[in-house]
Symmetry: C2
Subunit: 174 residues, 2 copies
C-alpha cells in the first residue's frame, strides 16, 4: 500500500538532535523517486476537492514538497521563514520552542485578502510553527483551509494548537 | 518569451542582507503558478538529454525546485545542508563566505559510486557552496554531470569555482 511504502522510507534516528528525541528522517524518502511521487500524490489527494490559492511552506523542510504541492493545485507558493531571511516587507510572529523562542516571518504581499491557504510542513510536532504561520495568514486576510503534513507525532498533541474545524491531514502518524 | 516571463517575476531588493548587495528575490516567482511551471520546465530542459540519478539541492532555496527537478528525471533528491542539520552519518566540507567560513554536509548514503549528479541551487554567486557540494559528491564516488541554477550573477565569476567541462545552466543572468 502507498502509505506503507512511504513509511518504509522514513528512518528513525535516536537521540537527534538531542538525547531522548526519536528524529524522523525523510532523506531516504527523498532519495527514492517512487516514494517522492507517492508522497506528493498523497499530499494533493488529501485536499483535492478544495480550491487552493496559496500553499505556505515552513522553513526549511516545508520547502521540499510545498512548491510541488502548490503546483498540483495551480496555486502560488509562499515561504514562511525564520527572522531576517526574507528580503521584502514582512510581518512577524513569535513562537515557542522547547527552549526559548523564535520568530517566523512572511512577506506582506504573499497573501491576498480572501486567499484559500494550505499550511504545509514535513512534520507536525508540538504545532508551534504551524500556529504562528496560521496567525500570519489570518493577519494578512487569508483563510486557512487545510493543514498538510507528511508525518504527525500524534503524542505531542500539536493538533490542539491549530484552528478548530479545519482539516489536518498527515500521511503517516506515530 | 518564457525567460522574460521568469525574469519579470524576480525582484531586486537593494541593500539586503547588507549595504551594497542587490538581492535577487524569487518569492514573486514562487507566488505565480505559471512562473513556477516555466522555471521547472527550463531547469529540466537544460539537461533533458542526460541520464540523471540524483539532484543535490543546496540549503535552503535549492530545496524549492530541487525535488521537482529530481522528479522530472525520475531521480532521487539529496539535500546538502549546513552543519548539524542532517541526522545520519555525514561527510563535511568547509567553504568560504564573504566573512568567515561555514560547513556543508551531505549524508554518506546519499550518493552511490557512479551516480550521475546534478547540483542545483536558486543562485550562482561566488560559487563557494556549489564547489563544496561538488567535492562532497566526488568524495562519495559520484560524478557531477551538470550545474543547474535559476539565476547567475555572472560578474561574481562563480563559474571559475566549478568543474571544468561540466555544463553550467542558469535560466537568468545578471
Amino acid at each position: 500500500m502507498d502509505t506503507e511504502y512511504i513509511r518504509s522510507h522514513i528512518r528513525t534516528i535516536p537521540d537527534f538532535p538531542e538525547t531522548g528525541i526519536q528524529f524522523k528522517d525523510i532523506t531516504p524518502l527523498l532519495l527514492d523517486a517512487k516514494a517522492n511521487e507517492l508522497t506528493l500524490s498523497a499530499l494533493h489527494t488529501a485536499f483535492h476537492t478544495l480550491s487552493v490559492d496559496k500553499v505556505v511552506g515552513l522553513e526549511s523542510r516545508g520547502f521540499l514538497f510545498g512548491p510541488s504541492l502548490a503546483a498540483s493545485f495551480q496555486a502560488g507558493f509562499v515561504p514562511a521563514r525564520k527572522k531576517g531571511k526574507l528580503p521584502h516587507k514582512t510581518i512577524q510572529k513569535e513562537y515557542g520552542l522547547e527552549y526559548g523562542k523564535d520568530i517566523l516571518e512572511m512577506h506582506t504581499d504573499a497573501i491576498n485578502p480572501g486567499d484559500n491557504v494550505i499550511i504545509h510542513d514535513d512534520l507536525l510536532a508540538t504545532g508551534g510553527t504551524a500556529k504562528a504561520a496560521t496567525e500570519l495568514v489570518l493577519e494578512l486576510g487569508g483563510q486557512v483551509v487545510g493543514y498538510s503534513f507528511i508525518i504527525e507525532l500524534s503524542f505531542l498533541l500539536g493538533k490542539n494548537q491549530l484552528l478548530k474545524d479545519i482539516p489536518i491531514r498527515s500521511i503517516i502518524q506515530y
